[in-house]
């Protein structure tokens, strides 16, 4: 399982980096979104993997998944959305003011 998750994180990072290096705004935003998936999963992985042990306290259960990275990632997801929204609006603003969607304002 661990290998699978590591593979997923690696593929998401690679796709994110490649897209972020493109010259137009929309692919860069997609790349940033991929990168935030990868980062969120990576942060989540800091708590190691556990199956069937949600951190909901119940009597008779002793093992729980680590709730700390989960709390961290939960807010990271929401803030990540705010960031994506901000960047895409910047792209729209740039298109309106510069007349193109090149990341450096070229035509």
């Amino acid at each position: 399982m661990e290998a699978l998750l590591a593979l997923v994180i690696g593929v998401l990072t690679a796709c994110g980096v490649y897209l972020a290096l493109r010259a137009r705004t929309f692919p860069v935003v997609l790349g940033l979104t991929f990168l935030s998936y990868a980062v969120n999963l990576f942060l989540f992985a800091m708590g190691r993997l556990a199956i069937g042990q949600p951190p909901i306290v119940a009597s008779g259960t002793a093992d729980y998944a680590d709730p700390v990275p989960q709390a961290l990632v939960l807010t990271a997801i929401v803030i990540g959305f705010a960031m994506t929204a901000f960047v895409i609006m910047l792209a729209l603003k740039a298109r309106a003011e510069l007349g193109g969607d090149h990341v450096d304002g070229k035509h």
Binding site: L5, I9, P27, A45, T75, L92
Partner: protein, 935 residues
């Protein structure tokens, strides 16, 4: 308490003066005067004990766990400086009231002035040297504000920047010096440092520490070769010059020499560095002052020269030299402040400060002339004026020091030469300005200023005379106690008298007076000579060249790294991250795989992971078809939420799922305004290079994740799990962490979310973009924009969706859910109405103004936190209890619930604000779906 108040009152007063200036021009001056008097009143009760030789130390716990206290110290030296700062400050405040014109902002002037005063008092009264340094830097910052007060003048801005750069660089050196000093002495408290002088001088790090500390002192006190900022700071209004360059800012450097005198002095290194610099500055300043045609320029170089004199005295290092040094600090502050004020009056009333034009003012302003002449005579060291006394002590110390020096006669000769020059430039000040023919081409007819503008000058001049004629009755007690503070020992036997017999010092004074007169007589050929050689020794030119190099280097470095290309910068960023990661990896030689037991792989998971990888890679390959890439990205997000489900993170799965929906809707809306295809621009080589870097980054991330996942670890999770129910009243540990244990972080996060929403709102304001008329296949929009079935269904679904979100919100404390998730679900439900029914229909039923919602949410979260203060608990302490409702049964209610409701409101508000505004832009730009379009 008093010492803290003395320092704090001017800082508080600065705000008050700035505020009150809106009521009228004089109010700021009155407020500043009252503030200064208040600080003096706080000092008064402590002065008796200080005169008896008591050192008052007051401590206030600041960061006790780090051993840091706010510590203030009042001994003779500190008291002398506090009196100078407050006393001359009071006179300058009065003077500035008449000096500033109607166009100058009174509030800004007096606020900066009081800021500076507070910082300077902090320097004089600090016990902890790090704290002293903080106030030291504050004086640099406040002086920047004061020197650049006339911001519209280029020379004011340049002068202020130069002063800040030089004194700021010195402050950095001083920080290093103080760190070393604190480590050597084992404490940052002055009491300890001053008592361990022998250990400090014997320490191997003594010399570097001394050099660093002296760099700080010399830059502040405008010692050669750092003197050049002071003449350039003359662009400041004259009250500022009178305050900063007589009694305060530049005196901070010599204050430091005096303060650390018992700890650092007494070594050959000290004598040569401090004495040598002082002598060079003394001569250089006196020489340069003679040739300045600008009145304030003359006074500026004279100040440099006198500071050199004081530095030289501390460099000589005998107790008697220290007496002379402290005495000259007092005398120089008095006569130089009055001279600057007089120069300001002349400038103010005559419209010029150029001594080639300002002549013969005796007839026009006799009172000012008389006052200036007394002060200038004091500066020259004429008997019966205070400058004479300390200068004669200085001469006799120079003679004394010369006996144990090789070529010893050089020192008395050099200081006599400086005396000659001082007499010459003082004479020039008097004769050129008040006699020497008629005024040349002045813009206005000069006359004496208002009485109250002259009053401060008069007070200082009377002091010059009193101290000069009756030294033992006036200044002696203050001098004695200040010297005790410097030496940390009783002052040596000294005699403040005008007549000491026919000593060598007397003859030196006679030579200085006679020689000065002679030099002034032959000034014309000297000026001609100087005019030919001018600019050779201009330190400002070196400073400008150095600054030019620094800027050129910064520009070159910026050009190298930031060529205005995001692609290049990102490439470098990832490359460097990779290189750093690799070097750490190769350097540590740890195995990639750890010892943790692994979970078995099941078929469904493998399939999902492969699907995710395929979708991600597919999106990357097909990224030029933007719509397809976006859909693939959305599917990746859904699998990510499945991963969270699989690995026991139900809250994350719910959040990811709802965020994914919102993100895809958002990006679809945005795509409507962007090109549907990405043109192929990059060369094959470049794409290959990017691919290589991306694969390396991905490989690195995967390896890192693998290394972490296979290693055992220790977590702080146990604490949260154990305390979730008893401490936070909730079973869902993730939610309890968010709204209780780390509630403060969450408050910050929803604030960021709110700010992002508002920022986007501002960005979209009045933005207009052409929408998309046809899709990628060339098809036009359908005329049936809101299909009836979809519209009816979403209307039906709305209450159900809201019910679900309420349920998720309420149960969030104990079961998966909470404010974030519930907010996103509500947002999705409402956005569905927009999508299926259109903006107009929805707007007639739901307000688009989300700002109150966001504000209410933030306020609710904040108030929940503040409420715990009412019960005497720290911010955001949660309370919970069980309640019984008839029929419904037992309920648990936690204050965290209110906080979570705040989170919910902010999330709903910010998400809707973003999407609705984008959607409205969308609607406005939609082409009319008429028949022609369809045909």
């Amino acid at each position: 308490m008093n010492l803290l108040l003395i320092v704090l009152i001017p800082f508080i007063g600065a705000g008050a003066a700035a505020w009150i200036s809106r009521l009228g021009r004089s109010y700021a001056a009155w407020m500043s005067g009252v503030v200064t008097l208040l600080a003096l009143l706080c000092l008064l009760p402590l002065m008796g004990a200080t005169f008896d030789g008591h050192t008052e130390i007051q401590r206030f716990a600041w960061m006790p766990q780090e051993g840091l206290d706010l510590a203030f110290r009042l001994d003779g030296l500190g008291m002398l400086f506090a009196l100078l700062i407050l006393g001359i400050g009071l006179l300058v405040i009065l003077y500035a009231r008449y000096y500033l014109s109607a166009r100058d902002s009174m509030g800004r002037f007096y606020a900066s002035m009081l800021l500076f005063m507070g910082a300077m008092l902090g320097v004089a009264l600090s016990e902890n040297i790090i704290q002293l340094l903080i106030f030291w830097e504050l004086t640099s910052l406040a002086s920047f504000l004061l020197i650049s007060y006339w911001q519209h003048r280029r020379e004011a801005r340049n002068g202020a920047r130069m002063a800040l750069a030089v004194t700021g660089a010195g402050g950095l050196a001083l920080l290093g010096g103080f760190m070393l000093l604190g480590e050597i002495a084992g404490s940052y408290d002055l009491s300890v440092i001053l008592a361990s002088g022998d250990a400090i001088r014997a320490h191997p790090l003594y010399l570097p520490m001394l050099v660093l500390v002296l760099l700080g002192a010399f830059t502040k006190s405008a010692q050669f070769p750092f003197h050049f900022w002071l003449p350039n700071a003359m662009a400041a209004p004259t009250p500022v010059s009178a305050y900063l360059h007589s009694a305060t800012m530049v005196k901070a450097g010599v204050f430091l020499l005096a303060r650390l005198f018992p700890a650092l002095s007494g070594t050959p290194e000290w004598s040569w560095l401090v004495g040598g610099t002082g002598l060079a500055t003394l001569l250089f300043g006196a020489f340069a002052a003679l040739f300045k045609h600008d009145l304030k320029g003359l006074l500026a170089y004279s100040t440099i020269s006198h500071l050199g004199l004081i530095t030289l005295l501390f460099g000589i290092g005998t107790p008697l030299a220290a007496v002379a040094g402290v005495f000259h600090i007092i005398n120089h502050a008095i006569f130089k402040a009055s001279l600057f004020m007089a120069a300001g009056i002349i400038d103010h009333e005559a419209g010029s400060r150029d001594m080639r034009r300002v002549n013969g003012l005796w007839k026009f302003m006799p009172h000012t002339a008389l006052l200036s002449m007394v002060a200038a005579a004091s500066m020259a060291g004429v008997p019966l004026f205070n400058g004479f006394l300390s200068k004669e002590m200085f001469f006799s110390e120079a003679v004394g020091a010369s006996t144990h020096l090789p070529f010893g006669w050089l020192l008395p000769a050099a200081v006599t030469l400086a005396g000659v020059l001082a007499v010459a430039y003082s004479l020039r000040f008097i004769h050129d300005v008040f006699f020497n023919g008629e005024p040349v081409d002045l813009p206005k007819t000069p006359h004496d200023p208002p009485r109250w503008m002259m009053a401060p000058v008069a007070v200082l001049v009377v002091l010059c005379l009193l101290v000069g004629i009756f030294p033992a009755q006036t200044v002696e007690p203050l001098l004695a106690v200040a010297v005790t503070g410097v030496l940390q020992a009783p002052p040596p036997e000294h005699d403040l008298a005008i007549w000491h017999g026919f000593s060598p010092a007397l003859w030196m004074s006679v030579i200085a007076l006679a020689g000065g007169g002679l030099v002034y007589l032959v000034r014309k050929p000297l000026f001609a000579l100087e005019a030919r050689t001018a600019g050779r020794l201009e330190a400002k030119a070196y400073y400008d060249r150095l600054l030019g190099w620094v800027f050129a280097f910064a520009r070159a470095a910026t050009r190298l790294l930031d060529a205005g290309s995001l692609q290049r910068m990102l490439f470098l960023l990832v490359l460097f991250a990779l290189a750093l990661g690799m070097s750490g990896w190769l350097g540590a030689a740890a195995p990639l795989t750890g010892s943790r037991a692994l979970l078995p792989v099941d078929g469904v998971s493998a399939l999902a992971a492969l699907g995710l990888c395929a979708a991600a890679v597919g999106a990357t390959i097909m990224h030029r078809q933007r719509f397809v890439a976006l859909v693939l990205m959305g599917s990746v997000g859904l699998v990510v939420s499945l991963i969270f489900v699989k690995f026991s993170a139900p809250d994350l799965a719910l959040t990811q799922l709802s965020v994914e929906v919102v993100t895809v809707v958002l990006l679809l809306l945005a795509l409507y305004f962007l090109p549907q295809h990405t043109p192929q621009e990059s060369s094959l080589l470049r794409r290959g290079r990017d691919l290589l870097l991306a694969c390396a980054a991905g490989g690195g991330a995967a390896a890192l994740a693998w290394a972490v996942l296979t290693r055992p670890y220790r977590s702080i999770a146990g604490y949260y799990i154990a305390n979730s129910v008893p401490g936070g009243g909730g079973g869902n540990v993730v939610n309890v962490i968010l709204v209780d244990f780390r509630g403060y972080d969450t408050l910050g996060e929803i604030t960021v979310l709110a700010l992002a929403g508002l920022g986007i709102y501002a960005m979209l304001d009045r933005l207009s973009l052409p929408g998309l008329a046809r899709d990628a296949g060339g098809r036009a929009w359908d005329s049936d924009l809101h299909p009836a079935i979809m519209a009816s269904f979403t209307r039906l679904l709305l209450p159900l969706a809201l019910l679900v979100s309420a349920f998720i919100l309420l149960r969030g404390h104990n079961q998966p859910g909470g404010g974030f998730i519930a907010g996103l679900i509500t947002a999705v439900a409402l956005i569905m109405q927009y999508l299926s029914n259109g903006v107009e229909w929805t707007h007639s039923r739901l307000t688009a103004n989300m700002h109150p919602l966001i504000g209410a949410g933030l306020l609710l979260a904040l108030l929940t936190g503040l409420a715990s203060w009412l019960f005497g608990y720290p911010f955001l302490t949660s309370a919970f209890g069980h309640f019984h409702l008839p029929l419904a049964g037992d309920f648990e209610l936690a204050s965290a619930m209110a906080f979570d409701l705040g989170v919910y409101l902010v999330v709903v508000g910010a998400t809707l604000l973003i999407l609705i505004n984008l959607g409205m832009m969308h609607d406005a730009s939609r082409p009319p779906a008429d028949g022609a379009e369809r045909a």
